[in-house]
């Protein structure tokens, strides 16, 4: 699969842009602030239906413009034309071959991509929510049933929390009314737990392999899934917690509290890892993500590398270039602020390299 072309209107700093891509390596070179990363974000839109950087759609529209539009054509056996537009105050429109999706979420996973922005180590350093989101996003792309189960879980959770609030504000308790929420929540939590657990079982060796390759195998890394559902009698624990739930007016235990811990030589990577180790680990996570997508989809996802030549040392860059040369990846998009460096790096690569100057 590859992206053949893209066309933008009013997308971030672009008023209008039309580009045709190489099916192999594409380099966006230009000064900082010229819009290279914005272009990667536009590609992210076509794949994931949203920005990689902004939670609010409005921020994607060029200043003072009324709307934005992104179109692109993926080649995956056949041609797939993807259209996305957003006008402030209205719903986002997403079309596949001119036909609007009934639910935009149906699109996710069909044209996968992996974005590596080495500075973005938030998933390692920040709270557990970002890690859950990282793994949920991968799982949702390879397993639509997972996405549905997760959405239902969150819905039941919201209803249960509202009920807890009502119980505590109106000072009463109805065991029969709470029970259906307990049963449904536990059932969905168990399903999510099983899927996350077996996914980490599969994902962890891939991360280790990539980390060893990137860092020359100096440190041992480990990826641990931590969930209260792992305890032997979780259901009993959950029921015991009802008193606490009533006091806190929310559900205090469940898969929405899960975390994924990253370890380096048996210590927490978050607390003791150096910046370089954290970057290497992030890249290993992303490459493992790439592997999983490739295996499940049967084709290679797009790979977007944002500013890696500035942010990584030569050794790690060398490892990535080896992988590119060995045809590990499919279509590639790379940004760099220095054109001469890019041409030097890709000069000897046995691939079709197209350079776009900004």
């Amino acid at each position: 699969m590859y992206l053949e072309n893209i066309s933008l209107i009013n997308f971030k700093n672009y008023d209008e842009l039309n580009l045709k891509f190489s099916s192999q390596v594409n380099c966006f070179v230009g000064e900082n602030g010229s819009g290279k990363t914005n272009l990667l974000d536009a590609i992210h839109y076509l794949s994931m239906t949203k920005s990689a950087f902004h939670a609010v759609e409005q921020q994607t529209i060029r200043h003072e413009a009324p709307f934005f539009m992104v179109q692109g054509q993926f080649i995956k056996e056949k041609k797939h034309h993807i259209f996305c537009s957003f006008q402030s105050g209205q719903k986002k429109v997403f079309k596949h071959n001119k036909k609007p999706y009934e639910k935009i979420s149906e699109h996710i996973g069909d044209y996968p991509l992996v974005l590596i922005a080495p500075d973005d180590t938030d998933v390692i350093r920040e709270g557990s929510e970002l890690r859950r989101r990282f793994f949920d996003s991968i799982l949702s792309q390879i397993d639509k049933d997972y996405l549905h189960t997760l959405m239902r879980y969150n819905h039941i959770l919201k209803q249960r929390n509202s009920l807890m609030k009502q119980f505590s504000m109106q000072n009463y308790f109805d065991k029969d009314l709470l029970e259906p929420y307990n049963i449904q929540l536990l059932e969905h939590a168990r399903a999510i737990f099983n899927k996350r657990k077996s996914f980490i079982f599969r994902f962890s060796p891939l991360v280790k392999k990539h980390y060893a390759n990137i860092s020359d195998g100096k440190e041992a890394v480990e990826l641990l899934y931590q969930s209260e559902l792992d305890m032997e009698r979780y259901e009993a624990f959950f029921i015991q917690n009802i008193k606490k739930d009533l006091m806190m007016q929310r559900t205090t235990s469940g898969v929405h509290k899960d975390d994924f811990e990253f370890m380096i030589d048996n210590y927490s990577l978050k607390k003791t890892g150096s910046q370089g180790q954290q970057k290497s680990f992030l890249i290993a996570l992303k490459l493992a993500h790439f592997d999983v997508m490739k295996d499940d989809k049967g084709f290679k996802p797009l790979l977007l590398l944002d500013d890696i030549f500035d942010k990584l040392d030569d050794k790690r860059i060398g490892k990535l270039l080896d992988m590119i040369a060995n045809n590990v990846f499919g279509q590639l998009f790379v940004t760099d602020a220095r054109p001469e460096r890019t041409s030097r790096i890709f000069e000897h690569l046995p691939a079709e390299v197209k350079v776009f100057n900004f």
């Binding site: 639509k144 239902r152 209803q159 509202s162 009502q166 029969d176 009314l177 029970e179 259906p180 929420y181």
Partner: protein
């Protein structure tokens, strides 16, 4: 919208309160009434007022009724031993139109959803329990015809708990592929569930 007449503006505002009617449609209706004979407007407002003043809900099943007890509850040919529990009045019309059901109904008037402030206290649950406790002849079976959502399931579960004391047969309407529907266009959840709760095929 600017109107030449305050009277027209008032009428348009009132009519556009109705669901599915915007200002433009409301204006069209008002101008229609203005053009026609006065009697039409009088008949309309009289019918509406009469409906609003005199309509009542069945004391037993909470369906719309002209009399204290509705025609379904008093129907001689109706099977008194079976009650179908529905969320709201339009559900009764839908089930009646199938002509496949000959029992009684019970309108809950909503569905349990704490997020929207709908608890069991807001629904006609107590009257259902009382009704079953005092029914003569006795009720044998309860059918839950509720939406196949998490809220519908919760409501059915809660009701089952409340009705546990009575020896009742309880069931919920089947979920699955629509008749005449195409398999490949059925959503994955429905199809998955249909496979899990498949029906033995006896070749008839």
């Amino acid at each position: 919208m600017q109107f030449a007449s305050k009277l027209i503006e008032e009428a348009v505002t009132e009519i556009s309160r109705l669901p599915g009617i915007g200002k433009k449609t409301a204006l069209r209706l008002v101008l229609f009434l203005l053009k026609e004979e006065k009697a039409i407007t009088q008949a309309l407002s009289h019918a509406l007022q009469n409906m609003r003043e005199n309509i009542r809900y069945c004391d037993v099943c909470h369906n719309i009724s002209d009399t204290p007890i509705c025609t379904i509850c008093t129907g001689h040919r109706r099977d008194q031993s079976i009650i179908c529990v529905v969320e709201d009045i339009p559900d009764i019309l839908a089930i009646e139109n199938t002509a496949q059901y000959n029992g009684l109904y019970h309108v809950l008037g909503g569905i349990i959803s704490p997020m929207e402030g709908m608890g069991p206290g807001e629904l006609n649950i107590e009257s259902l329990v009382n009704r079953i406790a005092t029914a003569n002849p006795a009720v044998q079976e309860i059918i839950f015809a509720l939406s196949p959502t998490m809220e519908g399931d919760t409501t059915a579960f809660y009701l089952t708990k409340k009705l546990k004391a009575f020896a009742l047969k309880t069931s919920t309407i089947a979920r699955g592929i629509p008749i005449g529907g195409e398999l490949e266009y059925t959503d994955e959840i429905t199809l998955g569930r249909s496979i899990l709760s498949r029906i033995a095929y006896d070749g008839k």
